[in-house]
Amino acid sequence: MSRIPLAFRAFFAILFQGILSDKLKRDLGLAPSPVRPAAPAAPPPPNPAHALQLLAILQRDSRLVDFLMEDIASFDDDQIGAAVRSLHDQARDSLARYLSLQPVIDGVEGAYTRPATADPAAVKFIGNVPATKPEGGTLRHKGWRAAKVELPALNAKQDATIIAPAEIEIE
């Protein structure tokens, strides 16, 4: 299975649900994480309209939803590559426009790092994790943080569940 759709699925699962489903974890080849620390005070429930809005933007600018929903098993890599190349550029542009994405730890992957925080939501220790909180370790993944979210104001009159309108051409 192509890695790109999988990466997108994981990205959106984290973005919208904050958690990976068991199926996704199996697809990703991740062992279920041993102990989940209890969630702190419950965050306010996300406004589903904003999640849908971001999807709608990514679909509008880069056709991302079309791509994720398409069964691409039968296409050869060449064909997928050609489509993804242009889709990827545009999706990245839109992400950069509406979210300012920054690494959680701005370090070099593979280098020894001491995290400034032990918040399990921001830093996850993996591997031979000792019983007490470790000082640091090898930075494997820098993480991502949305430093700024600047989504356009929602039009209250508009049906937020429409992610992309149907298109009818008059010939």
Binding site: R60, R63, D66, F67, M69, E70, I72, F75, D78, Q79, I80, A82, A83, V84, R85, S86, L87, P152, A153, L154, N155, K157, Q158, E167, E169
Partner: protein
């Protein structure tokens, strides 16, 4: 009251921009004025306003099914009738029948009534239409509101505003641009030629410019925008011991630009696809056109050594991968198209194919008949040769005008390869004249230079910085019909009376000697009006007979003497020419007793005729 800011507006064919600079009367005259770009708030998607550096010059006329209710509201207009800017451009690709584009080219098109609602040109029945003047008014109106929303403390109408026009715009097109600005609520407007503005931007960036050029130098400004190509020559002269600049020539209006290159590339790729059995429709061609522009820019980036760039057209339906059409733009094709089509290495005697001038004007814009920009440049430099001496134009032995420096402007010329080709061709001409190669004046920010330069010039008019002297860039004539019986099938031979000489300076007026006309009171009198960019030595009052192809007819001028009591039916008048401080050309009829009537352009009449 002194305005707080000077505002420069580049009203472009495909993109407009606004720059501004603070006007501080007491400031050190040698301190560098700081010119800034205004972020222009505009709809980029339905319900989404964003500030962008450019306002795409597109007007979309929405129908009931185009946008969700309330999604095109602007901060200054809850229910706009039309959409301007990025969203208009985007939506127009999907529904071209409601999109007005290139309004500026229509503004300079003498074959149509430019004040009549004719755009979108191919709109389906029932879609409201707008005149080229009205479309331009809407862009200017948007810019005024954009300013007021960004600079609430300095109302737009209290600032000094400069609007740029192509140097090749004739008196009618300039007049219409001014009208559009006035109708958009502008006050305090000055028009400025774009290539001059680009040169001012260079001066603004190079305070030591006096050390970079010397007396006798000739600077060629090559301005290639999305839809037009414009040439101007500026001579470096000396006046009372100081370096001074004089605009000595402007080219004809050439409707040929970067969009033509991109479309030619798209057609080329579409042909290659067709040979492989893949047909694409009009909508996909639009997408391909856009992708070819991006691919061209990538291939022409400095350091890019790739042989090809992908120009994939994504599938139209939900099957984005399955439906996508893979195509590639080959570097070899791009280079061949540039070297054979748009920038061929021609000799300086090679003239472009003549524009068809049929009796019945073909509908649509009069695009250049010859796509070779280098041939248009050859003609421009040759044309300067065909006139007698005009101060400051440096020439080679063959009479070709030979620039010492070149300044590039316009987004197309961001590409090094294109600049090098133009330099290569020009230098080969100079070598034939046994002259050294031309030096390039390094332009920066080719997309915004015009508006920046306009703002700088506004300050120059207020005493800070240098001013280019230019005057009227063309010669103008009024036709006088010969006293000969008309013969069926032959037009009555015309004589042309020179009313404005080339180079007539701003802020001057002149009575045309030795010519009086009897004007009938109470009915409009019409004069056919002609211009020439080639004949530079005709003096006011000269009567020209055999002008061949040198003269180009403009919209007629009209004057209506109101009937008054106690006056004769026929009033003898002579012409007086005025060039206002802001560069606008006016013709007046003056009676012997000093009464004056202004002649107005009549852009309607000619179409009906």
């Amino acid at each position: 009251m002194e305005p707080r800011y000077v505002i420069g507006i580049d009203l472009g064919t495909t993109n407009s921009a606004l720059s501004y600079v603070e006007n501080r009367p007491g400031a050190d005259p040698f301190a560098l004025p700081k010119v800034e770009l205004l972020g222009i708030p505009q709809l980029v998607n339905p319900s989404e306003m964003r500030d962008e550096n450019l306002l795409p010059s597109f007007l979309y006329i929405p129908g009931a099914t185009d946008f969700p209710a309330g999604s095109i509201a602007l901060p200054w207009d809850p229910q706009p009738e039309t959409v301007v800017g990025r969203l208009a451009q985007k939506r127009g690709i999907e529904n071209a029948g409601r999109l007005v584009s290139s309004a500026k080219s229509w503004l300079s098109h003498g074959g149509v009534d430019r004040t009549a609602p004719i755009l979108p040109f191919r709109a389906p029945e029932g879609v409201p239409k707008y005149s080229p003047v009205e479309a331009s008014r809407r862009y200017l109106d948007h810019l005024r509101h954009a300013w007021d929303s960004q600079m609430p403390d300095a109302p737009f109408t209290q600032q000094h505003v400069l609007v740029t026009v192509p140097a090749s715009f004739d008196a009618v097109a300039r007049d219409l641009t001014l009208k559009a600005a006035e109708q958009a609520g502008y006050q305090n407007i000055t028009l400025l030629e774009e290539p001059q503005a680009a040169f001012y931007a260079w001066i603004e960036r190079h305070p030591d410019w006096r050390e970079r050029v010397t007396v006798g130098d000739l600077i060629l400004v090559v301005d290639i925008g999305g839809g037009t190509t414009d040439f101007t020559l500026i001579a470096v002269t000396e006046q009372s011991g100081e370096l001074s600049l004089e605009r000595v020539a402007v080219g004809e209006h050439i409707l040929l630009g970067g969009d033509n290159i991109d479309l030619a590339l798209a057609r080329l790729v579409a042909d290659q696809l067709a040979q492989q059995g893949t047909k694409i429709d009009n909508f996909q061609l639009q997408a391909l056109w856009n992708n070819c522009r991006t691919a061209k820019e990538k291939l022409l980036e400095p350091g890019n050594k790739k042989d090809e760039a992908p120009v994939t057209i994504l599938g139209k339906g939900t099957g984005v991968v399955g439906g996508s059409i893979k195509a590639k733009l080959q570097r070899a094709d791009l280079e061949r198209l540039l070297s054979d089509g748009f920038l061929p290495a021609v000799s300086s005697n090679d003239m472009p194919a003549r524009q068809r001038r049929a009796g019945l004007q073909e509908l649509g814009l009069p695009y250049a008949a010859d796509a070779a920009m280098t041939r248009h440049l050859a003609r421009f430099l040759r044309q300067q040769a065909s006139t007698a001496e005009h101060g400051g134009v440096r020439r080679g032995p063959s009479g070709l005008a030979c620039p010492t420096h070149i300044l590039f402007n316009g987004g197309v010329l961001n590409a090094g390869l294109i600049r090098e080709r133009i330099l290569g061709v020009l230098n080969s001409w100079l070598a034939e004249e046994s002259l050294p190669p031309v030096q390039q004046l390094s332009g920066e920010d080719l997309m915004h230079a015009v508006s920046r330069g306009a703002a700088y010039y506004g300050l120059a008019r207020r005493g800070r910085g240098v001013r280019i002297r230019g005057g009227v860039p063309r010669t103008y004539y009024v036709a006088i019909e010969s006293a000969m019986p008309s013969v069926p099938g032959f037009a009555t031979p015309l004589k042309a009376l020179t009313v404005v000489a080339f180079g007539m300076e701003e802020g001057t007026d002149l009575r045309i000697p030795n010519r009086e006309f009897g004007l009938v009171v109470g009915e409009p009198a019409e004069f056919r009006f002609f211009t020439s960019a080639v004949r530079k030595n005709d003096q006011p009052g000269d009567l020209i007979e055999d002008f061949g192809d040198d003269l180009e007819e403009l919209a007629p001028m009209e004057v209506d003497l109101p009937a008054e009591q106690n006056t004769a039916d026929v009033v003898p008048v002579s012409f007086e020419t005025v060039v206002t401080e802001t560069g606008m050309l006016q013709l007046w009829c003056v009676a012997r007793d000093g009464r004056r009537w202004k002649l107005e352009f009549n852009v309607r009449e000619r179409v009906a005729a």
